[in-house]
């Protein structure tokens, strides 16, 4: 099996950015949603990992850590028919209309 885009141990990484940064509100919210869905038994950690591992590799590398979390939560919610992609996209469009694009 070729090395997955998430499985980078031992590959050249360049310099490490060690600067600390505050979490944004949306990142804390992403964790809250993740925890809530776990507590309700809707998602398992291994399912989220699998969803991130099977993402398009270019997209995976382009997304930040919590953006990958959100993308994998969306994948699982759609797979389990809890939300549809259309419902999520409609809500995002409405939020962008209200608050502006991120």
């Amino acid at each position: 099996m070729p090395r997955g885009h998430h499985d980078l141990g031992g590959t050249p990484a360049g310099p490490i950015d060690r600067t600390e940064h505050q979490l944004d509100d949306w990142e804390i919210l992403a964790d809250a949603v993740n925890q809530a869905l776990g507590a309700k038994g809707i998602r398992r950690t291994d399912e989220l990992r699998r969803a991130r591992e099977q993402m398009d590799s270019g997209l995976y590398r382009a997304l930040s850590y919590y953006e990958r979390w959100i993308a994998s939560l969306e994948t699982i919610l759609i797979e389990k028919k809890i939300l549809t992609k259309e419902e999520i996209d409609r809500k995002v469009t409405a939020l962008e209309a209200k608050w502006g694009e991120p």
């Binding site: 099996m1 398992r44 291994d46 990992r49 591992e53």
Partner: protein, 97 residues
């Protein structure tokens, strides 16, 4: 601690399989094909290769803490002293070595 589960016990020499296995796995790429030893037997746990794809994780699989010498894993790396690497690996990823 020594648990009577699985086919390996602490101290056994093992080699990590290089399976061409699709889907979600927890065995890092960098230890595949490497030789190490069983440091500890954890017991049996739900199989993440099933859980990751919506399965129930059964049957449970024996899980081990496996030790490697750093230069076995990284080749050119020259560790300081007796620096070792430890990875959690399920039994179905191990062969006797």
């Amino acid at each position: 601690m020594s648990l009577a589960v699985g086919k390996y016990k602490a101290g056994d020499r093992v080699r990590v399989r290089t399976d061409d296995r699709p889907g979600h796995v927890r065995t890092p790429y960098y230890v595949r094909g490497k030789n190490g030893w069983v440091e500890r037997v954890y017991g049996e746990f739900l199989n993440p290769e099933s859980l990751g794809h919506g399965g129930d994780g059964l049957p449970q699989r024996p899980l081990y803490l496996v030790g490697f010498h750093q230069n076995e894993v990284w080749g050119e790396y020259r560790p300081l002293g007796r620096d070792k690497l430890f990875v959690d690996i399920f039994e179905h990823w191990l062969d006797p070595a």
